[in-house]
Each structure stands twice: as structure tokens, then as C-alpha cells.
């Protein structure tokens, strides 16, 4: 039997958590409602959580917009290439660094080197100049190479490797396996949860990243999806246009920003929103297991 106090607590607890989750949900529902409402309802501020004067014209505009599909393809491309690079380098760096000092003598220097890069970076303009002079501007490599090694992933992987009992490795070496064989045949199969977590981190990071897409691309057709979206959310402002500009541009005259932007946000968030709940459990297990050391 639960005491009275426990019951009261449960009631409060549920109420509190319900309010919190509604607070998280409300902005999303609002965006969804805006994207399905008519221009005049949106502009009059009449839309809250339910669409008013239901219309799909915003979606029609966004989907017809030249650039959405190419941008999505760029994002897929960067995820595929970026993920492969991220995973390979993370494993190759984390494995040696997970060895103790007797096995890997200059380990401290390397750790220092990597940690330094985690804390300090060259700053925006110097980094840009490097990318520029490497000839990467307007190419997919500018989006995947600068973040090829994410120190956070390396630390996660490193700690996970350390959690694997040393005796397994010793046994493998006793049986004649080299370092690489040990890594591929013993360590990697044992680290699946951690690899899964890093894979998901990497995918989500690449999906969400817009800033590098903006500064390293001089042409809109090379933008990844999120840069494309950011561009529209920020720059689709017909209210900034002078009447004579609007009059000279009838295709824009009937449109007004917010419904269109909302439609764009919904379209670009939907894929990750659908996948996230299914993938989230790996985040939790992967991180927790990586954080426990012997």
C-alpha cells in the first residue's frame, strides 16, 4: 500500500511532467499548425495549435522550390562520406590511445595533442583561409574533412575500449594475433553499442550542421539541407521587399514568410524526427557503457 504522501507526490509528479512535456510539444505543434494555415490567418496571429483555413499551399511552394531536392542529396552525400571518415578515424585513434604507457610510450604526447585541439581552434577566418587554399571551397570535402576527428567520439570510444578486459587482448596476442587483427576481430565486435552510438551522433551532427555549409559554399546549389533551410527561414522575408520590387515579382506577391518557413521546417525535421525515437536507446546504452572503467 502506498502512503498518502506517496499518492500526493505521484499526482504532483505526473502533473509537473505533463506540463513540461506539453511545453516541449507546443512550439512544434504551433509550427505544424502554421504550416497548414492560410496567409491571412498566420499574419493576423490567429493560429495557435490548430491550423486555421486549412491549406497545403505552403508545402506546394516548398516542394516546387528548385533546390530542396539537390540540398537533400548533398546532405545524404555528406552523411555517407562523413560517417565513414568519422568512424574509421575515431577507431584508429581511440585504439592506440586506450593502451597503457608501457605498451605505447609516447601516448601522453598524443593525448595532449588531441586534447589541445579539443579546446583550441584556429578561429573562423584562419580556418576559412586554410580550407580555401586547399581548394575545398564549394566541394563536399569542405563539409566532411574539417570535422573528420571529433575528439568527443574518440574519448567515448577510448573509454569503451578500456572497459574491455585486458586478458582478452593478451589471449589474442598469445594466439599470434597482431594489433590490427586484435582490433578488427576482438575489439570492434565487442564495441558494437559504442559504435552504434557514435554512428548516430555522427549522422545527427551531419544532418543538423548548417554553418559550415554556408561559409564553405559560395553557390546555393551546393548547400546541404540545413543550410538551405536556414537560408529560407532567415531570408524569405517578402515584408522586406519594397512594393515596387514585389510588383515586379508577381510570383512572390501572394506569399508571406511564416507559413512557408514553417512548412520548410516541418519538411526538413520530419526524417530525423521519425528516426530519432528508434535510435535513441543506443545513445543511452552506448554512452553509459563507455563511461564505466575498471
Amino acid at each position: 500500500m502506498r502512503t498518502k504522501g506517496q499518492k500526493v507526490f505521484a499526482v504532483f509528479n505526473y502533473t509537473f511532467l505533463t506540463v513540461i512535456s506539453l511545453l516541449c510539444l507546443a512550439p512544434m505543434l504551433n509550427i505544424l499548425a502554421l504550416s497548414f494555415s492560410s496567409r491571412n490567418s498566420v499574419n493576423a496571429g490567429l493560429v495557435s495549435l490548430v491550423p486555421r483555413e486549412f491549406t497545403v499551399s505552403s508545402y506546394v511552394y516548398m516542394l516546387q522550390k528548385s533546390g530542396l531536392l539537390p540540398a537533400a542529396l548533398v546532405t545524404v552525400e555528406r552523411i555517407v562520406i562523413g560517417l565513414a571518415i568519422n568512424l574509421a578515424l575515431t577507431v584508429l585513434i581511440a585504439y592506440p590511445l586506450s593502451k597503457d604507457k608501457q605498451t605505447f610510450r609516447s601516448r601522453t604526447i598524443y593525448v595532449g595533442f588531441f586534447l589541445f585541439s579539443m579546446v583550441f581552434n584556429g578561429g573562423l577566418i584562419p580556418t576559412y583561409l586554410v580550407i580555401d587554399q586547399l581548394g575545398l571551397i564549394d566541394r563536399i570535402w569542405a563539409l566532411v574533412l574539417p570535422n573528420a576527428v571529433m575528439m568527443y567520439y574518440v574519448l567515448l570510444m577510448l573509454n569503451f575500449f578500456r572497459g574491455i578486459p585486458k586478458s582478452i587482448e593478451e589471449a589474442a596476442i598469445m594466439d599470434g594475433a597482431g594489433w590490427l587483427t586484435t582490433l578488427v576481430k576482438i575489439y570492434l565486435p565487442l564495441s558494437r553499442p559504442s559504435l552504434a552510438a557514435i554512428t548516430l551522433f555522427s549522422i545527427v551532427d551531419h544532418w543538423n550542421e548548417w554553418f559550415d555549409g554556408m561559409i564553405y559554399n559560395n553557390h546555393a546549389e551546393h548547400y546541404p539541407l540545413m543550410t538551405f533551410l536556414q537560408y529560407h527561414v532567415l531570408n524569405f522575408k517578402t515584408s522586406d521587399l519594397r512594393p515596387e520590387q514585389l510588383a515586379a515579382n508577381p510570383a512572390l506577391a501572394d506569399l508571406e514568410g511564416r507559413a512557408i518557413k514553417s512548412a520548410g521546417i516541418v519538411l526538413c525535421t520530419l526524417p530525423i524526427l521519425v528516426f530519432y525515437p528508434f535510435l535513441q536507446r543506443y545513445f543511452v546504452t552506448g554512452i553509459v557503457m563507455g563511461s564505466v572503467k575498471e
Binding site: 492560410s38 496567409r39 491571412n40 490567418s41 499574419n43 493576423a44 496571429g45 490567429l46 522550390k65 528548385s66 533546390g67 577566418i125 576559412y128 583561409l129 580555401d132 554556408m214 561559409i215 559560395n218 553557390h219 546555393a220 546549389e221 548547400y223 538551405f228 537560408y231 529560407h232 532567415l234 531570408n235 524569405f236 517578402t238 515584408s239 521587399l241 519594397r242 512594393p243 515596387e244 514585389l246 510588383a247 515586379a248 515579382n249 508577381p250 510570383a251 512572390l252 506577391a253 508571406e256
Partner: protein
């Protein structure tokens, strides 16, 4: 605000980097051309059809401020495959190689980076600050002779349409390094917009002086003009924009009524010949005092201090706000939505009345948007002028027809404006819509036939004609199924349109032009955002009554000591030059 701070930062960063890179003026433009596009240019056949062509085909690297969010290409077309791009290549022998194509802050950032890495393209489209910096650093061609030699008559006519003031203003140390894009006179945004249906219902007439405006505000606030039985309507709609041009709820019109102005551009010659920043003038003080009175009486929306332009616009669209000062284009934005939401709604536009009666003096300034300039290391500076000529012949020529405009301007079936693809389109500095408005008025007065209108004006005229034929000009309302007609009519319609009001101001010589234009001065770059913030804060506090009107005098003191006086000096020196 944020944008300004950012651009100032970038400008400073640029100065530093310019100083750093000053010694090595590299001729990188040649290397920039990608081999692919060069061969493309060589292979393309150049028919000798266009005057001034016949030279070797060249590839020109350019940067363009173009907004991918609003520029649309038809199927299969792109940045490098459209009517203009192809015509430049085939008829002028000029192949454009876009190095940068972006907009907004991103454009400024990329431009700053290009300047920082001394990687300038051949033709540039520069904000005025960057233009001045590059011109002073000797990185741009002096264009005057080149314009004289290559510009077509039409181009000359357009860039001289304001009597040459814009070109003069674009000179750096007396030399012209670029062709500006902009407006010799920005249309003022002091128009008073009134819900005509509410006025009729409450038996009010159009205001003759500012007291009448207060009267209307009082009636709109207290007498339930929308008849829904609830006390939900505003008196005078106000936003918290206290120093910038603002389309909905500006206080500029009130300031004008008392002989002041709040816009951050407006420096006017005072009695003793000094330059006076109008927001610190006695007229502005009187206006604020009056507004504070109105606020205390409840005639101003109580939350104006946290309401931006959009907030006032929403109230207009939702039918809560029926009286506000604002810009000329409400029929394109929230004004149009107010009619879609409530078909009874009708609008009246008048020039801001002064306190003594009659129309108040409005204030305006010369507006530089961007400046086209040519890299000093580029061997064909005349390419820019050729492009300008070419575009003018397509878009701004009196010989243009509806058919030619369909090919080069707005495509009537898709509604896409192909003039967006141009590089170097210079519209007349004296806004061409003024002419459209005048000639459309003449057609309605029977002095011109519709066929004599410019094709673009004819398109507007068709809409306005529908509007007038259906009798909407009497009510200021509109057919909810034909809001396009309303859009054109409330702007360029005869008698009732906002641009007709603008023409009245011009004809009565009631527009005071600012003495300041062009690039910001040193002190402006350093402290203008602080001064502007000071103005915004103080004005909101005075109107909302949290500070007495005496705070204005303190503001003027502070404003002057924190850089205002120095700026006035710098500007005086500049105009004296």
C-alpha cells in the same frame, strides 16, 4: 540592431585585413577563372549582333548578392543557364563566373573573407562601406571616363535622372569608382493609415491637424468601432521601432507633425548652419511629450514597448488596430490580410497632418543599396558598362513591349521575374514608380491613353482599373477574390494611393532631404549602435511614462557627449569638402 553590430564588426575586421594585405596586390583574377568556363567561352560562337561587341570573348569573375530564397528559376534553368547569362555570353562575349552568390549577412561575411584573403573578383557588388575602403586602398577602377566612353544614352539618362546627385555622392575623394544602385530619395514612411469603415461608422472625418488624429484615436479606442461589444481595439498603433524606417506603427509621422524626425538617417542644416540630428530637435521633444500624454490616456497600445513592426501588423490584420503611421506598402502585406480576414474593411491613406493643421514636412534621404565596382587588376573595365547598357535596353527602355518584357522581365505564365538574373541592372535613381504613378493618374484623368503607358505601368494600371470599376475606391475596401488589384491600387492608384500622397508631398516641396548620405564616418562606425540604442530606450521610456519628458534633455546631452558632436563635425567636414 544585431545586423548592424555585425556589419560594423566585419567592416572593422576588413580595415585591419586591408591594412595587412595592402602590400601585395596580387593579380589573382586571371587564376580564378576555372579552365572549364574558359573553354566554354572560347567555344561559344559570338554573333556580331550587339553594338559594342566583337571583342575577344572574356570570362569575368563576379560576386552577386542574390537571395536563393526568393529567386526562382524555371525548370532546367540555373545560375549559369538563363536568358541573361546566355545572352551575355552569346551577344556580348562576356561569360560570367560567379564566385559568390549569397545574400544578407552571409554575403557580407563572404565578401569580407574575399577581401581578407585578397581574392577579389573582376566585378563587384559592394555595400558602401566596403566600396569606400577598397576605393581608398586603390583597388578599384576610376570609372568616369569609361562611363563617358561606353555608356548608352539610356544608361546615361537613368544615372542622371536625379540631376547627378547619386553619382556625386558615390565619389570617394572626388573620384567615381563605381555605379551605385539605389534611390535618390527614399519614399518617406510617415503616411497615416486609417480604417475608413470605422471612421464612417463613428461619423468621423479625415484629420486636418494632429488634434484630429488624437480625436480619432480616442474614438477608435473607446467607441467600439468594430461593434463586437468588447473593448479590444487600439487607439494609435505604435511599435517599439524608434529610430529606423518602420512600415507599421512608426512615430515618424507624429515627430513630423511637430517639426521633428526620428529616423537615424536624418541630419538637417540648422539655423546657424550646423548639422542637426533631427531626433535631438525640439520638434521630436514636443512629439514625445504629446505621445506620453496619449499613452497616459490609454490611446496607445499598452505593450508597444515590446511590440515590433510585425506585432502592429498582426493587430492590423486581425482588425484590432485601425490607425497607425507607416510606410507606403501596406496593401502588399498586413493591409491585404486585414481585408482577407474581414471583407468590410477599408483603408484611407493621408499624409501626416501637422500640429498647426495642413500637411507636415516629411524627411527623406538618399538611399544607397549597393555599388557596382571593377577590380583595378581587371583588363576590361568596360565590361561592366556593357552589361549595364544591355540590361537597361531590356528592362528600362521606352521601346520595351509586353512581349519583350515577357522574354526579359516578368514571365506572365510563371510570374517569375527574370530581371533577377541580371548582373548590373541600374534602375533610374529617381524612382521609376513615381513616373508610373503620375502617368497612371493621367490616364484616369483622360490626359493619356492606356496604350501610352510603359508596359510595366500598364500591368499596374489594369489592376487599378478593375479596382476603380468595381467602385472600391469609394470605400477603400477590396474584393477579397481580387486582392492583386488592391495591392496595385492602394500604392499607385489615383487620388487614394499612397504614392499619390507622395507625389503631393513632392509637388508641394514638403520633403526635407538629409545632408548625410553614403558611407558612415569613423565615429559612426564606432559608436552609432550605442547612440541608436540610447535613442530607442529613452524614447520608449518617455512615451510609456516611466521617465518624465525632461529625460529627453538628458538624452540629448548624453547623445552629444558619447559621439554625436564628433559625428556632426565629421559630417560637416565632409560636406565642406
Amino acid at each position: 540592431m544585431k545586423k548592424k553590430a555585425l556589419s560594423l564588426l566585419l567592416a572593422t575586421a576588413m580595415c585591419l585585413s586591408l591594412a595587412a594585405c595592402g602590400t601585395k596586390s596580387a593579380g589573382v583574377s586571371g587564376e580564378q577563372e576555372s579552365p572549364a568556363s574558359t573553354t566554354e567561352a572560347e567555344e561559344s560562337k559570338v554573333p556580331e549582333s550587339e553594338a559594342g561587341s566583337g571583342d575577344e570573348p572574356i570570362t569575368v569573375s563576379v560576386i552577386k548578392n542574390q537571395n536563393p530564397a526568393t529567386v526562382t528559376y524555371a525548370d532546367g534553368e540555373s545560375e549559369t543557364n538563363n536568358v541573361y547569362y546566355n545572352a551575355y555570353r552569346d551577344e556580348l562575349g562576356i561569360t560570367l563566373n560567379y564566385q559568390i552568390c549569397a545574400t544578407g549577412d552571409e554575403y557580407t561575411q563572404k565578401l569580407t573573407m574575399a577581401i581578407a584573403s585578397d581574392d577579389l573578383p573582376d566585378l563587384m557588388y559592394l555595400p558602401i562601406d566596403q566600396y569606400t575602403q577598397l576605393a581608398k586602398a586603390g583597388k578599384l577602377w576610376a570609372l568616369e571616363d569609361i562611363i563617358d566612353q561606353y555608356a548608352s544614352e539610356l544608361t546615361l539618362k537613368n544615372i542622371q535622372s536625379d540631376g547627378g546627385t547619386m553619382l556625386d555622392a558615390a565619389k570617394v575623394d572626388g573620384v567615381l569608382y563605381g555605379i551605385p544602385v539605389g534611390n535618390a530619395q527614399r519614399i518617406p514612411s510617415q503616411f497615416l493609415w486609417i480604417r475608413k469603415d470605422w471612421m464612417d461608422k463613428l461619423g468621423l472625418s479625415a484629420p486636418e491637424n494632429f488634434d484630429d488624429v488624437v480625436e480619432i484615436a480616442r474614438a477608435f479606442k473607446n467607441d467600439d468601432p468594430d461593434g463586437n461589444g468588447a473593448d479590444d481595439t487600439w487607439g494609435l498603433g505604435l511599435s517599439n521601432v524608434m529610430s529606423d524606417v518602420c512600415g507599421y506603427g512608426t512615430i515618424e509621422g507624429v515627430a513630423n507633425a511637430f517639426g521633428g524626425s526620428v529616423l537615424n538617417q536624418n541630419w538637417v542644416k540648422g539655423e546657424n548652419g550646423d548639422l542637426v540630428y533631427m531626433a535631438t530637435s525640439q520638434g521630436t521633444r514636443d512629439a514625445l511629450e504629446k505621445l506620453a500624454e496619449m499613452y497616459a490616456e490609454g490611446l496607445i497600445n499598452s505593450e508597444f514597448g515590446v511590440t515590433d513592426e510585425t506585432g502592429v501588423g498582426e493587430a492590423v490584420a486581425a482588425g484590432r488596430c485601425g490607425l497607425f503611421y507607416g510606410g507606403d506598402g501596406i496593401s502588399w502585406s498586413y493591409g491585404r490580410d486585414s481585408i482577407a480576414n474581414n471583407p468590410e474593411c477599408g483603408w484611407l491613406c493621408v499624409n501626416a497632418p501637422s500640429a498647426q493643421g495642413g500637411v507636415a514636412d516629411a524627411y527623406s534621404f538618399m538611399e544607397f543599396q549597393y555599388i557596382y565596382a571593377v577590380n583595378k587588376n581587371f583588363e576590361h573595365p568596360e565590361a561592366l558598362i556593357k552589361l549595364v547598357n544591355f540590361n537597361n535596353d531590356r528592362i528600362n527602355s521606352p521601346d520595351a513591349t509586353l512581349d519583350s518584357l515577357a522574354q526579359w522581365g516578368v514571365n506572365p505564365t510563371t510570374g517569375i521575374n527574370q530581371a533577377d538574373y541580371t548582373y548590373g541592372l541600374i534602375d533610374p535613381y529617381l524612382n521609376k514608380a513615381i513616373g508610373y504613378n503620375t502617368t497612371i493618374g493621367q490616364v484616369f484623368a483622360g490626359e493619356l491613353t492606356p496604350e501610352e503607358l510603359m508596359p510595366e505601368a500598364y500591368r499596374y494600371y489594369e489592376g487599378i482599373k478593375r479596382y476603380v470599376d468595381e467602385g472600391w475606391d469609394k470605400t477603400g475596401g477590396a474584393n477579397p477574390d481580387d486582392l492583386t488589384a488592391f495591392q496595385y491600387a492602394m500604392c499607385w492608384g489615383p487620388q487614394f494611393g499612397s504614392w499619390t500622397r507622395y507625389s503631393e508631398l513632392r509637388d508641394a516641396d514638403k520633403i526635407v532631404m538629409s545632408e548625410y548620405y553614403g558611407a558612415p564616418t569613423q565615429t559612426m562606425i564606432r559608436s552609432w549602435s550605442t547612440l541608436e540604442a540610447l535613442q530607442d530606450e529613452t524614447f520608449v521610456k518617455i512615451i510609456s511614462g516611466s521617465q518624465p519628458i525632461e529625460a529627453f534633455d538628458e538624452f540629448v546631452e548624453q547623445w552629444k557627449s558619447q559621439g554625436g558632436d564628433t559625428i556632426a563635425q565629421e559630417l560637416a567636414e565632409r560636406t565642406a569638402e
